[in-house]
C-alpha cells in the first residue's frame, strides 16, 4: 500500500462524502436514523479494512 498525501486525500474525500450523507439523513429524519447509518458505515469500513488486511497478508 502506498502511504502518501494523495492516498490520504482520497480518504478525506470518502469521509467528507460519508459525513455529508449522515448529516443529510439526520436532518431529514431523526438523529437515531443518522446514528444507525453511522454505525452501518463504520461496520462496512471495518469489513473493508479486514478484507484489505487479508489481501495484504496473501501478497
Amino acid at each position: 500500500m502506498k502511504f502518501n498525501e494523495a492516498a490520504v486525500f482520497k480518504w478525506v474525500v470518502i469521509v467528507v462524502a460519508a459525513g455529508a450523507l449522515i448529516v443529510a439523513v439526520t436532518l431529514l429524519t431523526r438523529p437515531l436514523v443518522g446514528a444507525l447509518l453511522l454505525l452501518a458505515i463504520v461496520i462496512a469500513g471495518c469489513i473493508y479494512a479486514y478484507r484489505w488486511w487479508i489481501s495484504q497478508k496473501r501478497h
Partner: protein
Amino acid sequence: MESASVAVGQSHADHHHHGPPEANQSSRIDRQTLGILLFIVSEVMLFGAFFASYFFLRVVVDPQSWPPEPFELPKAVAGMNTAILISSSFTVHYALESIRRGNRTGLKLGLVATWLLGATFLFIQINEYVHLGFSARDLSFGSIFYSLTGLHGAHVFVGLMLLSFATIRAFRGHFGPKEEDHLGVEVPGIYWHFVDIMWIIVYVTVYIL
C-alpha cells in the same frame, strides 16, 4: 562485531562514512512518512478515548435531553467552519500536486491558502466558545464538549505550526518535484488531512447526531 567493524572500515575507505552504520529502514515506506503514520495512529487512539467518554455520557448515563436544556449548539456556524476546514484539505492537496509537477508558485499559493483557512477555522472556533453561553464547568455536557472540540483545536494549532514551517521553507525554495525533496510538505499535508477527517467525525457526532 568484527565483520561489522570491517564493513565500517571498508565503507569508511570507500564512502567516507562517519559514525555508526545507518539504521535499518523499510524499503516500502520512508521513515518520515512512517513516523507521521505512527503518530497519527496514536492520536486516533487519543481521540478514541474522548469519543468513548462522549458516548458513555450520552448513551449510558442517559440524560433527559442532549444537549441538556437550555444549552444549544450552533450547528450552522460549525457547519460553515467544517466547510472551511474541508476546503483547506483541498488547498494543501493542490499545493502538493503543484510541487510534484515542479510548480513552486502553486505550492506557495496552496500553502498560504491552507494556512489562512486553518487560522480562520481556529478563530471562528474561539469566537464560538466566547458566545456559546455555557462553560466546561456546566454539567458533563459542557465538560465533554469543550474537551473534544478543544482537543481538536489543539491539533489544528499544531498543524498551523507545521504549515508555517513548510510555508517558510517553500518561500525559501527548499522543495523539489521528487518525493524525497518535498517530504517537508508531504508530512504536514498528511497530518492536516488527519485533522480534517477528525473534525468531520467530531462535527457529525457532537453537533448533528
